[in-house]
């Protein structure tokens, strides 16, 4: 019995070719994607556990900082839950993030933006979700930065997310934006998503309940991975 997942709803996903984001013009396949029935190749995927993650990996304020120092910028808690499409928590799954520092500069050998590097900020974190699918990072809010797309293009402040789930077909990379950022409607990468509700769901919301008073402001960002379909098999309901 092969487990079947809901087909990906491509109406809620950015198409491969979105010409306003110019790099997609040369990098998008011209042929259509071939649909396939799911097999173990798609319904299994790498498994991670506590030994793959080190204590403090989810604290970007400390995981690269020199002793006694901390990165510059607005201190934030970014947290949320990873659910599947059936609203079940995805527990024990690996969540990785990466981001620019508070001035919009990445710690990457290919980033040539002249904004200041921060010697106390690596910009990379990872964690496993708990039994309830919850994750949390402590970091600084990244800065907006210019990029070579149009003559004056700016990325809204964002944090990149990588999430696994339990099946290779659930693999997801996305970006989390911040409520109220005026650059969101102007960004061709964001606007590659054809559905405004789907864009809204990529926007982290201020979460006053999770702030740490006199320390850090909090934002909430929930993630939904593909879920298994319930199927009737030999007159039994399976997978539900």
């Amino acid at each position: 019995m092969t487990r079947e997942y809901y087909p990906r709803d491509r109406q809620l996903q950015p198409p491969d070719l979105t010409p306003a984001y110019k790099t997609t013009i040369e990098r998008s396949p011209k042929h259509h994607l071939i649909s396939m029935p799911h097999s173990l190749s798609e319904t299994t995927g790498p498994v991670f556990g506590p030994s793959d993650v080190e204590t403090g990996d989810n604290n970007l304020l400390t995981n690269y900082a020199r002793p006694g120092e901390s990165p510059v910028g607005e201190r934030i808690i970014l947290h949320g839950r990873v659910l599947d499409q059936n609203t079940r928590p995805v527990s024990g799954t690996l969540v990785e993030i990466w981001q620019a520092n508070a001035s919009g500069r990445y710690r990457h050998r290919n980033d040539t933006y002249f904004a200041a590097e921060d010697p106390n900020f690596g910009g990379c974190g990872r964690t496993l979700t708990d039994d309830d699918g919850h994750y949390q990072f402590h970091t600084v809010k990244p800065g907006a930065y210019p990029w070579p797309n149009g003559p004056n293009s700016w990325r809204p402040a964002h944090i990149h997310f990588s999430v696994f789930g339990t099946a290779f077909l659930q693999r997801l990379v996305t970006q989390c934006y911040f409520e109220g950022d005026p650059l969101i409607p102007l960004c061709p990468i964001v606007q590659a998503i054809p559905d405004s509700d789907a864009i809204n769901r990529l926007t982290a919301r201020l979460d006053l309940d999770r702030t740490i008073p006199f320390d850090s402001i909090a934002y909430r960002f929930d993630i939904v991975l593909r879920g298994e379909q319930s199927t009737l098999f030999e007159n039994r309901l399976e997978g539900d």
């Binding site: 996903q13 396949p29 299994t44 499409q85 990588s162 996305t174 939904v224």
Partner: protein
């Protein structure tokens, strides 16, 4: 009958961007972050099966190398089992079946060492020919691209493979079949990926 609608919508994908290494492979970005970086080894030196190397180049529609691409490979062991609780059987210690591979910043060439997987079970009691599952992200890729690499020296199994048979054109099917040579007595499979244009690699909606 399968349900047609799920209660929740999947989160939308966004490009991993050119600096994806920071989060996924920081040593490639240029700094030391973790004691052990994830995805460095698919298997151990003593893993059962034929040890092989896989290499290729990734290019765009103009033929230019895609120098910021990152791949994830997911494969079965030599017995056709995936390292997963539902992976059809046990795997040996040291075999995880998953790795991350970055394209070279100048040339777009990539490569990794692994073992040749066995045939795996497919849909409806079918058997799938040995293959690697590959997921590709990069700047300019809005949503990760999924493809498969098959082996040229498995022509009988490939002819019966339920996924290859979904591709009607011989020439397109051929884009998924890696050519075999030998390198220091070890099999070397060449698998070039072309995102667009002539000999465009087949990608799947999985």
């Amino acid at each position: 009958m399968p349900q047609s609608r799920a209660p929740l919508n999947e989160t939308a994908s966004q490009t991993a961007g050119p600096y994806l290494h920071i989060g996924l492979q920081p040593s490639t970005a240029g700094f030391a972050m973790h004691q052990t970086e994830l995805g460095q080894q698919i298997c151990a030196p003593d893993t059962n099966g034929t040890h092989i190397r896989v290499e290729g180049i990734i290019t765009d529609g103009t033929g230019a190398p895609v120098t910021d691409a990152l791949f994830e490979v997911w494969q079965a062991n030599a017995s056709g089992h995936y390292a997963h609780p539902l992976g059809s059987g046990p795997v040996e210690p040291g075999f995880c079946g998953w790795a991350r591979v970055s394209a070279d910043f100048q040339t777009g060439e990539w490569g990794f060492d692994t073992i040749k997987p066995g045939p795996t079970s497919g849909p409806n009691q079918s058997k799938q020919a040995p293959h690697l599952n590959i997921w590709i992200v990069a700047r300019g890729i809005n949503i990760g691209l999924n493809t498969r690499m098959y082996f040229a020296d498995e022509s009988a199994a490939n002819a019966q493979d339920p996924v290859l048979s979904l591709i009607p054109e011989d020439a397109r099917r051929a884009t998924l079949i890696a050519k075999k040579t030998l390198q220091n007595d070890r099999p070397l499979y060449r698998f070039d990926i072309r995102l667009q244009g002539e000999n465009e690699t087949v990608f799947f909606d999985i």
